[in-house]
């Protein structure tokens, strides 16, 4: 329950290299496997595999231009991913708050009962 997250999307953005790639595509605009690999500590082939993964879950889509393939972020899908991130975050936040409230209540009772 609660984390009925679309695990496909999560695991796509769970990888640090893929997160950085999305960052680069957002900040620098559309890019190719080669252009991305120049700004990352991995080879073009590794980048290419990650692009395939991101494409499979719809986070990016490609456009062929001559011998190059330009990739860019799918805004709607990324928005969905962000929503999932914040959903999990707020779920955990809520639980943490509730636990804290309960702990404080117990603390108050202890002080009251034992006069400590």
């Amino acid at each position: 329950m609660s984390t009925t997250v679309d695990d496909e999307l999560w695991s796509a953005i769970g990888d640090p290299t893929r997160r950085t790639m999305i960052d680069l595509l957002l900040s620098d605009g559309p890019g190719t496997a080669t252009s991305l690999s120049r700004r990352l500590p991995v080879t073009r082939q590794a980048v290419s595999k990650h692009l395939a993964v991101l494409g499979r879950v719809g986070l990016i889509h490609a456009e062929s231009a001559g011998r190059e393939r330009h990739y860019q972020v799918d805004e709607a899908q990324l928005a969905r991913a962000v929503a999932q991130l914040s959903a999990v975050g707020s779920t955990w936040d809520d639980r943490l708050r509730r636990i804290k409230r309960i702990a404080e209540a117990i603390e108050r009772n202890r002080h009251h009962d034992e006069g400590e």
Copy 2:
């Protein structure tokens, strides 16, 4: 830049099984490897390894009680993890909004220039 996230923490909560484990520990309170494995689709040994990973990054801590080891979530560290989640989320959100604004500006210009 921007995703200068503490990758240790991210990869810890990046795994779907580990996320569910944290959920269970938050909703049901402290638990053991065995009790968690009963509510998960993996074996006790797998759960045990995940607990080790979560413990290594400080997201949980254990307490020995006889032959059992009770694990529970470290609230401060989880709060830190949640903060990182929402940081990445809002970064991407910002970029998406900015892109959208630019796209709209271009659209307006096109209409103005071409009278379309």
